[in-house]
């Protein structure tokens, strides 16, 4: 053995207070190190709890990469497992988002206008969040909905994860458009407005119709704005951004009021 578990960590381990990933390292190490097991026995009154933990961990499979990264980032292991089950955080979905964003950035450079990017970027978080929790893509939705964990809480956990991922990718794409300065960030408030509105409508309209309708209205409003003038589209002006912020706040309020509706099947059509 080239290293040994720190005595303080062993004490925390025996008391059940050592958190992953240190916990995993200690588990693995203790199974092969008699010296540390001896120290563990000497430092701990609650040594049985430590062995109990080893016993419980012996056959637990190592979490996947995504889960391990989340835990290393400070997310509790049980929350990381809930997030790992989020359908749209899979590689295929993320790859599709990256592809779309790269293609759109290419269009921006070709057309010498950020409009295509600003129009598309809010739709990606909308779609991602809409499909993060519900019967359409989540194979365990029916089991989740009858669990004691409130559906709205699960929705919010996943929404935050998908938003952070989606907005993060959008931000990276924005960095590829330095010529447009802060204008290239004009997608952010519409993205929040569309996402919140889509979620607020989901219990009533369902997991597909609600975001489709919201996305359709967004595209329709952009088309109308384009027809009505040659300048920047109104949605990306100060007035448009203010309106987006107001819509986001209003929709967030409505979503909160409708939170209990996420605790049962979204719509009768899902039954």
């Amino acid at each position: 053995m080239t290293w040994h578990v720190d005595a303080e960590d062993l004490r925390a381990y025996a008391q059940g207070e050592l958190a992953p990933p240190l916990l995993w390292s200690a588990d693995t190490h203790l199974t092969g190190c008699a010296e540390c097991r001896g120290v563990l026995a000497s430092v701990s009154e609650g040594v049985d709890a430590g062995w109990d933990r080893i016993d419980a961990e012996l056959d637990a499979p190592r979490p996947g990469l995504w889960e391990r990264l989340l835990v290393r980032a400070g997310v509790a292991d049980h929350t990381a497992r809930l997030l790992a089950a989020t359908p749209v955080l899979r590689r295929s979905w993320l790859a599709a988002m990256v592809f779309l964003l790269v293609a759109t950035v290419g269009v921006v450079y070709t057309a010498d206008s950020p409009t295509a990017f600003l129009a598309l970027a809010p739709l990606l978080p909308l779609a991602g969040v809409a499909l993060a929790y519900g019967p359409v893509l989540d194979p365990t939705y029916e089991m989740a909905v009858v669990s004691p964990v409130h559906g709205f809480r699960l929705l919010m956990i996943r929404t935050v994860a998908v938003l952070v991922t989606g907005l993060g990718l959008n931000l990276l794409a924005t960095l590829a458009l330095p010529a447009y300065g802060l204008r290239a960030l004009a997608w952010l408030l519409p993205a929040l407005a569309l996402t919140a509105t889509g979620l607020a409508l989901t219990p009533r309209l369902g997991q597909v119709l609600a975001p489709s309708l919201v996305g359709g209205v967004w595209i329709g409003l952009l088309a109308i704005a384009r027809e009505s003038g040659d300048g920047p589209l109104v949605q990306f002006t100060a007035a448009g951004q203010g309106a987006a912020a107001a819509v986001a706040a209003l929709a967030a309020g409505l979503l909160f009021l409708a939170r209990d509706r996420f605790d049962v099947f979204f719509s009768r059509s899902a039954v």
């Binding site: 059940g16 961990e57 637990a60 089950a85 365990t140 029916e142 909905v145 964990v149 409130h150």
Partner: protein, 287 residues
């Protein structure tokens, strides 16, 4: 015996379709079978009792808790195990990870206690050896057992199983019946099935549903007895029978009102079920 589940007047409509119509029932400890043709309302009833869907009218309690309020619903869910008709799995999860995920949904957040519970339920369905295998690599029977293990997390007092033996071969079905019988010891199990053999082998009580209503509520023996004097063999199909089919030995088995001098035979549970549905079997339509 105090009922685990007590429901009265449950009704539910989807648009113009009456899925549940004034359903009342009381479930006690042991396995209760729920028989009925497609569209009878079995899955809807199970989903209502599992608190996945709210009824339009009526009320029920599970282990004394009323799911009509958010707090009551949560209490019911803490005591509920649910195996849906088509349990879904995250394809990249192992059996252990999937059951662990369900355990987290059941509020077991302490890692050590949760993993101990996951191992317990996987042992209970005899999947200890494959707990590290990815679910997509398991057979259909094993996947069903993983789903059953997930429903057993937290030792629920009320277990709802929606057609768990569908798609299993005869050996797997027998294996699964053993597990359900074991799960029914000391708790209340509501088992929806199309297999009358499941009911005959497992259940102390059976409900028959059609068109959103409960048409029969009694013991399997009482359901069988309903067909006494209404089952007969004949060389040709009897046009007066409510249902009739050719048996393996070539004669026809008929269910209904027998003609004078008919060759009456011992009824089975299936005969009683068919007679309860007026011989229409799987063709009974929803209202």
């Amino acid at each position: 015996m105090t009922p685990t589940v007590s429901a009265s007047g449950l009704s539910l409509h989807y648009g113009g379709t009456r899925a549940l119509d004034d359903v009342s029932l009381r479930l006690t400890q042991g396995v209760t079978g729920l028989l009925g043709p497609n569209g009878a309302g079995k899955t809807t009833l199970l989903r209502v009792l599992a608190t996945a869907v709210s009824a339009d009218r009526g009320a029920f309690t599970v282990l004394g808790h009323d799911p009509g309020s958010a707090a009551g619903r949560q209490e019911v869910r803490r005591r509920l195990g649910y195996l849906p008709q088509t349990p879904g799995f995250h394809p990249d999860f192992t059996a252990f990870e999937f059951v662990d995920y369900v355990a987290i949904l059941k509020e077991l957040t302490d890692r050590t206690a949760r993993h101990r519970e996951v191992r317990r339920v996987l042992d209970e369905v005899d999947l200890a050896d494959v707990r590290g295998k990815r679910i997509k690599k398991l057979s259909g029977g094993m996947r069903q057992r993983v789903a059953l293990a997930a429903s057993l997390v937290g030792d629920p007092g009320f277990l709802v199983l929606d057609e768990p033996t569908v798609g299993l071969d005869p050996e797997q079905r027998m294996r699964f019946r053993e597990l359900i019988a074991r799960a029914g010891e000391g708790r209340t199990v509501l088992l929806s099935t199309h297999q009358t053999e499941d009911v005959a082998m497992l259940c102390h009580r059976v409900l028959v549903m059609a068109a959103g209503t409960v048409r029969f509520d009694g013991t399997p023996a009482e359901l069988t007895a309903r067909a006494a004097g209404h089952v007969w063999n004949s060389a040709e199909r009897d046009p007066g029978a409510k249902a009739g089919w050719r048996t393996g030995v070539g004669s026809f088995r008929n269910v209904g009102d027998p003609p004078p001098g008919a060759d009456l035979v011992e009824p089975s549970l299936e005969d009683g079920y068919l007679l309860t549905l007026d011989g229409k079997g799987a063709e009974v339509a929803t209202a």
